[in-house]
């Protein structure tokens, strides 16, 4: 009976897909909104690549880029411009294409104890939060969101590390939001994730970040690592194709009344942070 089970399992795993023929690293925010599943399915249908062949590995941007450096993924979709620049400068990444963007927004409790609602820039808001010592939740995980948050603290000239009101959650975006809501704390989050979670939260969007949160697709350098260049190229092409851009433009409108992301298909000049007007 035992051997039968093992044999059955072996057959199953053999017939099942998965595998690491084509591995794409993508950040949690793309997964949590559900957009990633839609894009990968559409890609398989269009391109003829097996659905299972596209293996998205979802993690924080820091982890994704680390995998890229090792050549353990064939391509990445991240939203951390400085880290991406470093990846390309180090020769591990090539062919950066901007796929879509959204905006960071500082969210907080409905009664806004630190009084940031009227403030224009997120850095200023952070100063007020620090002054009021209101609770603030940070991702603390080297993700794109976390990196942007730290940049804002630097801009505000404040080091929040170790302060009692500054809590690092180490969790994904959605879960961190739930945590912030529960603790009535402030938090920096990307607009798409916030939209998806909004009705479960007792938080309000207070200050929008002007700088767009840019999602880019980068291929891991085939000259430096043994990667699936053909599949990565095809996926990159797909993401910036009109078909995919249409999917992105419409994603979420039905359910949330507005699209979650803004497509960027045309831009691919390798310069981070340059985006056409939506």
């Amino acid at each position: 009976m035992v051997t039968a089970l093992v044999a059955l399992a072996a057959l199953w795993t053999a017939s099942c897909g998965g595998g690491n023929d084509f591995v794409v690293g993508a950040t949690t925010s793309i997964q949590d909104t559900g957009l990633l599943d839609v894009l990968t399915e559409a890609f398989s249908e269009e391109s003829g690549y097996d659905v299972a062949a596209v293996t998205p590995i979802v993690a924080g941007s820091g982890q994704i880029l680390d995998l890229a450096r090792r050549g353990e993924v064939d391509a990445v979709i991240t939203h951390s411009p400085q880290a991406e620049a470093q990846l390309i400068a180090d020769g591990d990444g090539v062919d950066r294409r901007e796929v879509m963007h959204n905006f960071y927004v500082l969210v907080g409790p409905l009664d806004d104890p630190a009084g940031v609602r009227s403030v224009l820039s997120p850095a200023q808001a952070l100063s007020r939060i620090a002054a009021a010592e209101s609770m603030f939740i940070s991702r603390g995980d080297n993700s794109g969101t976390h990196v942007r948050e730290l940049a804002l603290w630097t801009e505000a000239g404040i080091d929040p590390a170790g302060r009692s009101w500054y809590q690092e959650s180490g969790a994904g975006q959605g879960q961190s939001l739930l945590l912030a809501s529960d603790k009535a704390a402030y938090m920096l989050v990307d607009s798409s994730t916030f939209t998806v979670f909004q009705d479960r939260l007792e938080l309000e969007p207070l200050v929008f970040d002007e700088e767009p949160n840019q999602y880019a697709f980068i291929r891991v350098n085939p000259d430096k690592h043994a990667v699936n260049e053909a599949a990565a190229l095809a996926f990159g092409e797909f993401l910036t194709s009109p078909a995919a851009q249409r999917i992105i433009a419409e994603f979420g409108s039905e359910r949330y009344g507005q699209p979650l992301f803004v497509p960027d298909g045309a831009a691919s000049d390798g310069e981070p942070g340059v985006a056409p007007e939506p």
Binding site: V6, A9, A10, G17, G19, E72, G172, Q175, V196
Partner: protein
Amino acid sequence: MELIWDGIREAFRLIFTGDAEVYEITLLSLTVSGAATAIALVIGLSIASVLAFRAPPGRTLALSFLNSGMALPPVVVGLVVAVMLWRTGPLGQLHLLYTPAAIVAAQAVIATPVVTALSVVALQTLHPKLRLQVLALGASRWQAAWLLFREARLPLIAAAMAGFGAAISEVGASIMVGGNIKGSTRTLTTATVLEVSRGNLESAMALAFILLALVYAVMLVLTITQQRRRAS
């Protein structure tokens, strides 16, 4: 509390409307953890036989390692197995990463110390001379092992149950080596984590209940087998 009731209701709905994805996930969980437990049993019983019957020198030391293995954090196992299966890793050539086979391997690593340690103790409950008697009756070594395992079936089945429980309930290693890919390496536990991270708590709760139901069904069968008396 409402969340729990909503979850139970959603679980029934998913089961009885025959939601294909849920069935797929459930079947995968069952086969993957079942295979891992089977592997753990084969390895575990072999090692346990040697440790219990031959009582080699260094047995206590080996047992202390096995017992510690019962407390191995699954996430640590996942990390180590992932590194081994990386393209640049020693077993990269096997192309097993992000496949169900990788999850089977990781879960087998988690379950084996549990099964082995408990099997050794199970076999030690037998009369020390029983093995000699069985051999003296004309049993070959395989026949003797089979008879002795049957004698100790009560604690041995418990060991199997513990191994299965460890395998099917773990999530950290499964995500790390499996990638939680929809349609191929998404199991009940990894799907539950995903739903939680998406904030879909009713779905998460429903999947949790389905997992509990699955585990109960398996354990029910094993418990009945274990407790079946042979004669009055």
